[in-house]
């Protein structure tokens, strides 16, 4: 609270005050039995009992608040209960259920909890009022109400979403100096599908609670598939993370064959994603590109270690063996179904725009987009890393080299994209901060000091300065 600007503090105070007013008025409303068309539909004890049970369930399930992280808006498990409450106990009761957020057991400051409770109380109350305004029946639901009841439910859920979004927008934009529009687009719009989905859950719960009359059992039954879905989703996320960790480690294991390329795959993957994002690739393609980057050199395993670590000049036959590595990589990986487009990137990442690359000598636009991206990222990382025959070059030098080869070896669009992205995000080259790099290879694998320069040698196949020379010598 102390760190908040005055305007934000004022907004927080106003929200809490408004919620208090609603709750005080709500006590008055809840102390009379609910009457509809002259018939008592819910006595005072029934209503209070329902409010208490709903509030406790809401607080218990809402172990996490809706948070805006990246592009994902997280809605807690308690939301369906919040969205069922105005049907089951009406707007005034719903305000109490929403205020239950104060009880939520998460590590939050008292101020935050009070504010959350107040915000939820107001949202639920506003939604409940909208529901009643559009003639939604409170505490009773019969077959004859369908499908008429869907309209007030839809409107109420949208009101809940809008009030919640506006309050969030106010506080976040005042406290963190983000433009309101950004918050609006970032959170409000993205949470609409979630609200509508949970709104269905809420309606179902209400139907069973007051329509069929099975009470609290309805919440358990309705939330069961949801809980199972979330459990399965968390399993999925865990497995996904395990998968990423495994792939990276195994690729590193592959890289131990060639001491100078430690961390290379991961950096190529990172640079490829920078380029891909800059040229506006879709998220799923970016993901495939990321894997293609990590796996692009796996085929080097098919190249005898002796060749990779050789310190003399390579013969034509030996260079031909090195040139096979993209094909070997593809052979190894082709059973991994989801990679799909990534295969093209792995197979063709050494093609050149002028058709003098390998393994197929494709030209210009024949080269798949993934391969054109990876080629640039690959060369860039190679140049900015230490090699046996030279130290790491500076980023500026590497950029100059890329520019020199632009159009002949590299796709100009990709080169420009990388350069433009690098002005936004500083590049962490291998020499600067790479734990793996610091684990030095055994001495005997290193060329003797000073010996490397004369014969020039064991040249990195990714290094564009040398690949041209190579090509000229061998062809």
């Amino acid at each position: 609270m102390k760190g908040l600007p005055l305007a934000a503090r004022a907004l927080v105070g106003a929200v809490v005050l408004a919620a208090c007013v609603v709750l005080v008025l709500g006590v008055g409303h809840l102390s009379h039995p609910l009457v509809s068309n002259g018939v008592v539909v819910a006595t005072v004890p029934t209503m209070i009992g329902r409010v208490v049970v709903l509030t406790l369930m809401f607080a218990a399930l809402e172990s996490r608040m809706p948070t805006v992280s990246g592009s994902n808006v997280y809605l807690g498990m308690g939301f369906p209960i919040g969205l069922a409450s105005y049907i089951i106990v009406g707007p005034w009761g719903a305000a109490f259920v929403g205020a239950g957020a104060v009880l939520v057991l998460v590590e939050n400051t008292v101020v935050k909890r009070v504010y959350n409770g107040a915000q939820f109380a107001l949202c639920a109350f506003a939604a409940g009022q909208a529901y009643v305004l559009f003639h939604g029946p409170v505490a009773v639901l019969a077959a004859s109400d369908f499908p008429r009841v869907l309209l007030p439910v839809l409107i109420a859920d949208l009101v809940h979403c809008a009030v919640n979004g506006l309050l969030l927008m106010g506080v976040v934009s005042l406290a963190e100096k983000v433009s309101p529009k950004q918050v609006l687009v970032g959170s409000l719009l993205k949470s609409v599908p979630g609200y509508l989905g949970y709104g269905i859950f809420g309606l179902l719960m209400a139907v069973l609670w007051v329509g069929v009359g099975i009470g609290v059992l309805s919440a358990l039954l309705v939330l069961m598939p949801l809980a199972v879905a979330r459990w399965a989703f968390s399993q999925y996320s865990a497995e996904q993370q395990a998968y990423e960790a495994t792939i990276q480690t195994l690729v590193q294991a592959v890289e131990t064959k060639d001491h100078y390329t430690r961390g290379h795959s991961e950096r190529v993957s990172r640079a490829s994603v920078l380029i891909g994002r800059f040229i506006g690739m879709r998220e799923d393609r970016l993901n495939a590109l990321r894997y293609a980057g990590i796996l692009h050199d796996v085929g080097k395993l098919g190249v005898p270690t002796k060749l990779l670590q050789k310190t003399e000049r390579l013969s034509e036959a030996e260079f031909a063996a090195i040139k096979l590595h993209p094909v070997r990589g593809l052979e190894m990986l082709r059973d991994i179904e989801f990679l799909d487009e990534a295969f093209q990137g792995i197979l063709h990442h050494h093609e050149r725009l002028d058709g003098r690359g390998y393994p197929m000598g494709l030209e210009g636009p024949q080269i798949p987009e993934f391969a054109r991206v990876i080629a640039v990222a690959d060369a860039f990382d190679s140049m900015t890393s230490t090699r046996s025959y030279r130290g790491a070059r500076s980023v500026d030098d590497a950029i100059a080299e890329l520019l020199r080869c632009k159009g002949s070896q590299f796709d100009p669009g990709m080169v420009d994209a990388l350069i433009a992205s690098l002005t936004k995000e500083p590049w962490i080259a291998s020499g600067v901060d790479d734990a793996a790099e610091r684990r030095q290879p055994p001495c005997d694998a290193l060329p003797a000091p000073g010996s490397g320069q004369a014969g020039a040698i064991a040249v990195d196949h990714d290094d564009p300065t040398f690949s041209v020379a190579f090509r000229d010598e061998t062809s």
């Binding site: 179902l204 069929v212 598939p225 949801l226 399965a232 989703f233 131990t256 796996v298 991994i336």
Partner: protein, 431 residues
């Protein structure tokens, strides 16, 4: 003809399951033809959703086929009481007939696409729905039974509780039948299979059970609307499970691919790691390993030679069985070290690390700390090093004989016995 005989021989319990289902379906069809199913609209509506569920069935992790929507709709049809204000009057036989017919119709698109459904899965669904109906329908008895009276007197909470109990029993029955089929197929003992199936199915079955009960109850108020509306949450569940199964299979494919690095690098023979993992899995199943243990076993078997990457010169033919014990152990340790670095495969790393340890040293008792999976891999690896991709009977027998001779010291006798079964079976199948 021979293939049919083999199938009969391979799965007596499965045959029993299919036979029972077939008899029940035949009887129910005859009955349905004599007395047309009452309240045809309800039967057709539920049937439509059962068929739709089968059409959008999924394959879960561990190669299990499931049609959650279809199962939930079938359960709901078994448990439904009042539909609007009219008590339903269909019998358990009607439930069996509708479920079977609708599942077959839903399987048609798959059959057209060349993916024939697993008959045991269909039979299981029919039997499970049939069991739920047999428990519930006589007690409801078109609103005249004890459950019908509960409903009439607005005691829906009690009715709901009864439905939940029936759904739980149906779910347990379903897992038991699935375990029977699996044990049959893998030649695995029943109890470990039951545990595996139970663990694999409990999540999805809970969601299916809850949805079935919900639809049955909500039909009192929402009538037909209950089905599409309550199916939405279950679709979400199904979607999550499918994604999980997707990443699991991607993971397995990737490990399989990357395990070929030793082959591409010339350290091991082509196909060695995949053959070892096939063999190890066969042995592991027969020994009754649980699903998660089988996954660890598979990954460890695939990557058991990873440590060879750190050798400067490949061992001739990559056969670790030819290497000195110390060398073997060092390779195992290096491999384990790499795997451990992933941070998520610690159990696999331990298995790989201990694969070179002998089962028992002279004058000592068996080392109980060696994981069973390590002992399996040790034997499977030795067998494959000796036989390779050869199909000669002589080489197989000789390799088995050599394993038997080293049994009790190098190899776990139980593992060697199972390995011999698996090898014999696969040679009988001409693999």
């Amino acid at each position: 003809m021979t293939s049919l005989v083999r199938r009969l021989d391979e799965g007596r319990a499965t045959m029993l399951l299919l036979g029972t289902a077939l008899v029940l379906v035949a009887v129910s069809t005859v009955l349905a033809l004599q007395h047309p199913v009452q309240q045809a609209t309800i039967a057709v509506s539920f049937g439509a959703f059962i068929a739709l569920g089968e059409a959008v069935r999924v394959t879960l992790a561990g190669d299990r086929e499931a049609a959650p929507l279809g199962a939930a709709a079938a359960l709901a049809y078994a448990l439904i009481g009042r539909f609007g204000s009219v008590p339903t009057s269909h019998t358990a036989w009607d439930v069996i007939a509708v479920t079977a017919a609708a599942s077959l119709i839903g399987a048609l698109p798959h059959i057209a696409a060349g993916r024939s459904p697993r008959l045991d899965v269909l039979a299981r669904r029919v039997l499970t729905a049939g069991l739920a109906a047999a428990l519930f329908r006589p007690l409801y008895d078109a609103g005249h039974g004890p459950l019908g009276h509960l409903e009439m007197h607005q005691r829906n909470a009690v009715l709901a509780a009864v439905m939940v109990v029936v759904a739980v029993l149906a779910g347990l029955f379903d897992a038991a039948v699935a375990a029977l089929v699996r044990a049959d197929r893998d030649r695995a003992p029943f109890l470990p299979s039951l545990r595996s199936e139970f663990r694999a199915l409990i999540g999805l079955s809970s969601a299916i059970g809850a949805t079935g009960v919900l639809i049955a109850l909500a039909a009192q108020v929402m009538q037909l609307w209950a089905i599409p509306v309550f199916v939405v949450p279950l679709m979400l569940t199904q979607f999550s499970f499918r994604r999980y199964a997707g990443i699991r299979s991607t993971y397995a494919q990737t490990i399989r691919s990357l395990s070929r690095v030793t082959e591409v690098g010339g350290y091991t023979e082509t196909g060695h790691s995949s053959r070892v993992s096939e063999l190890a899995l066969g042995v592991g199943r027969e020994l009754g390993l649980s699903d998660p243990d089988l996954v660890d076993l598979e990954y460890a078997a695939l990557m058991h030679d990873l440590g060879q990457l750190s050798l400067t010169e490949p061992i001739p033919g990559g056969a670790t069985v030819m290497a000195m014990p110390d060398e073997q152990r060092r390779i195992a340790e290096m491999g384990a070290e790499v795997i451990r670095q992933t941070g998520v495969l610690d159990r696999v790393a331990v298995i790989v690390e201990r694969q070179a340890d002998p089962y028992r040293r002279p004058h000592e008792t068996a080392d109980e700390t060696i994981p069973l999976a390590s002992r399996i891999i040790k034997a499977a690896n030795a067998y494959d090093d000796m036989v390779g991709d050869s199909r000669e009977t002589g080489r197989r027998l000789e390799a088995l004989e050599r394993l038997r001779l080293s049994m009790a010291y190098d190899y776990d006798p139980r593992v060697v016995t199972c390995l011999a079964h698996v090898v014999e079976r696969s040679s009988r199948l001409g693999l």
